[in-house]
Amino acid sequence: MWKFIFKRVFALIPVIIGVTLIVFFIMSLSPGDPAKMILGDEASPEAVQLLRQEMGLDDPLLIQYSRYMYNAIQGDMGLSYKSKKPVTEEIWARFPNTIKLTLTAMTLAVIISLPLGIIAAVRQNSFFDGFSMLLALFGVSMPPFWFGLLLILFFSLKLGWFPSSGSESLKSIVLPSVALGFLHMASIARTTRSSMLEVIRQDYIRTARSKGLSYSSVIRKHALKNALIPTITVVGLQVGVLLGGAVIVETVFAWPGVGRLMVQSIMGRDIPMVMGCIILFATGFTIVNLIVDLLYGFIDPRIRSMYT
């Protein structure tokens, strides 16, 4: 087990290197001189040149990248071009907000979509089944930014129930987490339904029935755990989409999280800040996937025996 975890954490290294390398190069290719950006338009060419030398901007890209990573490993991700504050400080200040938003959205999605998918499968072709799958179809088809705007339009501008932006009150998390969670609710419900349908056709369900268990206890005791295996996979894969969605939803609702910070930094070409955000997202994604894999083994003994 520990060996497995260690191996997975180790595998994180090439992922981080790959992601940062790509982002670093893309950001360097984009037009605009960071030194000029830091000093402002009125700065003399000499001052700009001096700063460029100081920052090592004239060195080959690979050297610049290595220097950046060397510092980053030690926890120094540089200063934001814009605020002139350390990148890590700025990110950590916003990180709890992103966690709060994604966790709420995910919990919301799982709580609603699991029963939805299960009942839809057990009552296949019923009205409930049709209705919930239609809902799910809406969910996967609607981009979260658009759905977010609809929510704002209706629930804050028209009805005035919830604030449309910010994170001051408890109420303010409602709309962004619904906007973000809806998409996941849809895909989790669909996966749960289809894996449940698959599972209830299996022989071991018939065996369980032949023991004299009622249909509902067969679903609860035998079908559910098996049906959850594909669902957990999807939840894990969805974390990537969820983080991507968080970037958009945070921007739409002016939610002060890392996603919004990243968008603002990209607009302002704040390279160190963008790098910091990306590294955080990439690491977060891989760690969540590791947790999902472990969860997988927790449920399925066949997988568990592969770990050891």
Binding site: A208, S210, K211, G212, P301
Partner: protein, 338 residues
């Protein structure tokens, strides 16, 4: 045979005129078409037939577990110890399943829940019917494992850690955990290696003695029938076309289909006939011929066979055949296989 019912003891299982259909989008599959079966207490009946004959459907119908939809039990009666199961509510059936009637399914590889410990899967049925605490049920589950030849401490393992033969032993342990009166075994050894087959069969024989069970042994293997059965029903396209004791079926074969089954067996003793498989295939059960279902494949088919369904002709009190070749007059002699 109708006069005997008053004095004869009530049979463990008596099926009359069972009709089961699968109503699918592509048409109605006539899986079981007026099947009659009778198993006296403590006896084992072999239900023999090719794949698709409706054997599994018959077994599932007894437990009222035919997949629904698309399956529908259209007609007939299934009496267990004199009570019609088709009249029972679902709640009543839940008390019967696993307690009075158990079923062993065809494929042990897929019959067990992959994410549940083996002992839990056995204990579950014990807890349900014997009203024991979970710990008592677990203890009994381990006893059951020992009984089928698996060390009790292996109970904490999961199905994937067991071989096919061991899984089938577990399935047997589940089926027998509450000492049922009737055990339905649906090709219990088909999926196993030959050497394992013999072991499992021997185990089933021993346990049948121990529990004094009646048994419905579904198989397509006449070798197993000889091993374990008292009576044999030969099933074709959802009907019993010949029924009798081992002696009747093996030495006084009447139906051309039964004859065909023997001829397609390699090296069965005292049968010199060369290996001769039955020509053609089982008719499509969603499109059965109007006359005898076997007639398109029958070497003895006559004109009447194409248009009329044959009725039962009794050779002895037990042994009957459904075939136009026979009448009250000539049933004593064998007109086929000359």
């Amino acid at each position: 045979m109708s006069e005997h019912t008053t004095t004869a003891p009530i049979p463990t299982l008596e099926i009359k005129n069972l009709v089961v259909e699968y109503r699918t989008e592509d048409g109605i599959v006539h899986a079981v078409n007026g099947l009659d079966l009778r198993i006296e207490k403590g006896k084992t009946l072999g239900l023999v037939g090719e794949t698709g004959a409706g054997k599994t459907t018959t077994g599932l119908a007894i437990l009222r577990l035919v997949a629904q939809p698309p399956g529908v039990i259209v007609d007939g009666s299934i009496h267990l110890n004199g009570e019609n199961l088709l009249m029972k509510s679902e709640k009543e059936m839940e008390k019967i399943r696993g307690k009075q009637v158990s079923m062993i399914f065809q494929d042990p590889m897929t019959s067990l829940n992959p994410v549940t410990r083996v002992e839990d899967q056995i204990a579950e049925v014990i807890e349900l019917h014997e009203h024991l605490s979970w710990n008592e049920s677990l203890a009994k589950a381990r006893d059951m494992l020992e009984l089928v030849g698996i060390p009790g401490e292996r109970g904490v393992d999961y199905p994937h850690q067991f071989s096919g033969g061991m899984k089938q032993r577990v399935v047997i342990a589940i089926a027998l955990a509450c000492s049922p009166q009737l055990l339905i075994s649906d090709e219990p050894t088909t999926a196993l290696d030959v050497t394992i087959q013999a072991q499992v069969l021997q185990l089933m024989k021993n346990l049948r003695e121990k529990y004094q069970m009646s048994m419905l042994m579904i198989t397509h293997d006449l070798g197993i029938v000889v091993e374990i059965c008292d009576l044999v029903s030969i099933m074709y396209a959802g009907r019993v076309v010949e029924h009798g004791s081992l002696e009747d079926i093996f030495n006084n074969t009447r139906h051309p289909y039964t004859e065909g089954l023997f001829n397609s067996l390699p090296n069965l003793e005292d049968r010199k006939a060369k290996l001769k498989p039955i020509k053609g295939l089982m008719p499509d059960p969603s499109n059965l011929p109007p006359g005898c279902a076997f007639c398109p494949r029958c070497d003895y088919a006559m004109e009447i066979c194409h248009t009329d369904k044959p009725g039962k002709v009794y050779r002895t009190e037990d042994h009957f055949v459904e075939c136009h070749l026979y009448s009250e007059q000539n049933i004593g002699e064998k007109v086929i296989g000359k």
